[in-house]
Symmetry: C2
């Protein structure tokens, strides 16, 4: 879809995140002024719309989604290993390539206002780099609409799936932005061996780290500790994320305080998809200095049938789960998919500021609290000053 | 909004809840045929749309919502009594009448496909019948779009708020469909005294009963038992609902089995808003024969800022909370806002059947599972054969 955005224009009457009304001048892909409209540039009235920096999808799987393909009933698995097996069966049943399925998800997220995305792409000894190469194509195809980070993700383990390490190495050499990992004990059955490969490759290619950790209780906490050790040892503070970290939703307040402090000082971020059980406590972790952010994770795939690609919905789900209902707390929920996620993904120049990139989402909402509380159906998405998507009826 | 629906027309290519494709003939407000289109009546192609009987909003508060009025930050209360007090402060701050606020919510729910609704209207010694009379006006204004049941709801208690009993009596004499109640121990501090008034008035006017019960643990179970006793004693089986019933989400499986059986044999339905904690277990209760259904409860009001009036969203929230992800389980989640809620509200002729009322929602979804999993943004709502609302871009 083409929107023929002019190179210079005002968005007038918009509400900023702090509640102030302003006119915003966009010029050559950047925000040139924030104040009161002047001059001859075209003016688009957006009174009653909230402007935010484009939303950040912190964790998604472009290669897994079945979005836009015929419905596949969900087959529940009894363990992570079992679900990995079931996923392979389900994906073998579709003949729609990753480029199309993942592209459907990108286009859907764009309509909802996502401007940045981190996708974990399956790499294993059997499929090699096939998913990764498909995601490179997607990243390239949509490069003017969205910034995509690709994590080389060993979904079937590293030691447990022969050949994977070499494929991960090749992905990092050929454009992956980060190295992933998965349940070092349960899948590879060797936490140290699994993490050693990850941190060695991250250091070799100067890449970020983002590890799936479903393992809970004392085992999960032990592995978080191992990850903190290595983050410090290799000087990767601020560049490491642990996704899910259910253990943090299971331990008592004393342990949480201790391990939260450890994560904060090591510079390890936590990603949550706001699951029903074992969700890390957002408010407590933030107060300990931990950077916690959110992502959709599975959207209509073999792991989860529920989801529609609206990352703003995820902020509301997090708010529901942890009773974040005051205006301040609803703003905290929004931060999970804006500021905090931008920090974890180390996005340069994130935010609405003069001189910054005009990467925006406009939401038909009175303020930040209402945006999270209502998840409004009307949005407009801008990338580098160009309108790239909209949701709901077109705006004049 | 007027849609000028013809008196006779075909909806062609629609998907029914059982997965079959069919053309549906609507004539004089009723479903005249289900099969293959014939004859000269106009045909509207709805290929790719799922048709369901209009959704049932099982529990809402039309007088409480602030929808369509300026945002009010949420003030968290420490107890039910404290929140009742805070609500009175918040409602005193708005000068928008119930007729307008409640009307906003009705129009919003209509767009999402709600065709039937049960609203609990506050009646107390101070405000008397003011809210009730406003809701009567709303019910009358929208009588061609939606069927609204009004519950006379003693939000401030009965014994605790002098004059309330007489107002409840007057409401039942003047058009209320059911008598409500609230936490008989905590608010009135006299469970038997509270319930005696309710069941006496229900019997006097031959009305249904729907009691808010937040009280948990052994106290809540005790009160459920008292309610079952009276349901049986007064022959009100099938006509009594307990809303929330957190106790059922707190007791162990043995107790659940015992009390579930009691509720089923007494004919007491359970309403849930799918809260984050203490949600009654849907699957277990259904297997015990209990009729459990769902409602939005608070939508943008002093009790909860979150919510947008989409009752289909509530089915998804329930599915998320209790991991209902197979196709069969997603259909069960949908039943919470269709069949089970229709049963609790004793709606005559509910469902899509030849000769039945053409009260429909069309949802752009492949099947029932996808409707719950994706909560699609495009809908069309029909009441007695007339299109009354739509969501998303207009359909030809």
């Amino acid at each position: 879809m083409s929107f023929n955005t002019p190179a210079e224009f005002w968005l007038t009457g918009i509400t900023l995140a702090d509640g102030h009304l302003a006119d915003v001048l966009v010029r050559a892909g950047r925000i040139a002024e924030i104040g009161t409209a002047f001059g001859a540039a075209p003016r688009f009235l957006r009174s009653g719309w909230l402007a935010l920096p484009a939303l950040v999808e912190g964790h998604v799987h472009l290669d897994k989604t079945f979005l836009g393909t015929p419905w596949q009933p969900h087959l529940p698995g009894s363990s992570v290993a079992d679900r990995i097996r079931l996923e392979k069966l389900a994906r073998a049943k579709t003949n729609v390539p990753v480029q199309v399925r993942g592209g459907n998800l990108v286009e859907t997220e764009l309509k909802f206002g996502t401007g940045y995305m981190r996708s974990h792409t399956d790499i294993d000894g059997e499929s090699g780099l096939a998913n990764f190469e498909a995601e490179l194509e997607i990243r390239d195809k949509y490069r003017d609409e969205i910034d995509i980070q690709i994590v080389a993700f060993p979904q079937s383990g590293i030691l447990a799936s022969p050949g994977t390490e070499a494929f991960l190495d090749a992905a990092l050499a050929n454009g992956a932005d980060a190295i992933g990992g998965l349940d070092p004990a349960g899948i590879d059955r060797d936490p140290v061996g699994h993490l050693d490969v990850i941190f060695r490759l991250a250091t070799k290619y100067d890449k970020d780290v983002d590890i799936h950790l479903h393992e809970g209780g004392p085992l999960g906490v032990f592995e978080l500790d191992l990850i903190c050790d290595r983050t410090e040892k290799f000087g990767l503070g601020g560049r490491v994320t642990v996704s899910h970290a259910y253990a943090l939703g299971q331990i008592g307040p004393e342990d949480l305080k201790r391990f939260g402090g450890r994560l904060a000082s090591a510079g390890v971020s936590i990603l949550t998809s706001a699951p029903q059980v074992s969700m890390p406590p957002v408010k407590a972790l933030r107060s300990l200095g931990v950077n916690i952010f959110a992502g959709s994770d599975n959207i209509r795939d073999a792991w989860a049938p529920i989801g529609n690609g609206d990352i703003l919905d995820r902020a509301q789900i997090a708010a529901r789960q942890q009773d974040l209902v005051s205006d301040e707390d609803l703003a905290m929920a929004l931060d999970l998919i804006t500021g905090a996620s931008a920090k974890a993904l180390r996005l340069p120049e994130y935010g609405i500021a003069i001189g910054g990139p005009a990467d925006l989402v406009l939401i038909e909402a009175e303020n930040v609290a209402e945006a999270v509380a209502s998840v409004p159906r009307r949005r407009e998405t801008y990338k580098r000053g160009r309108k790239v998507a909209e949701l709901g009826a077109p705006v004049a």
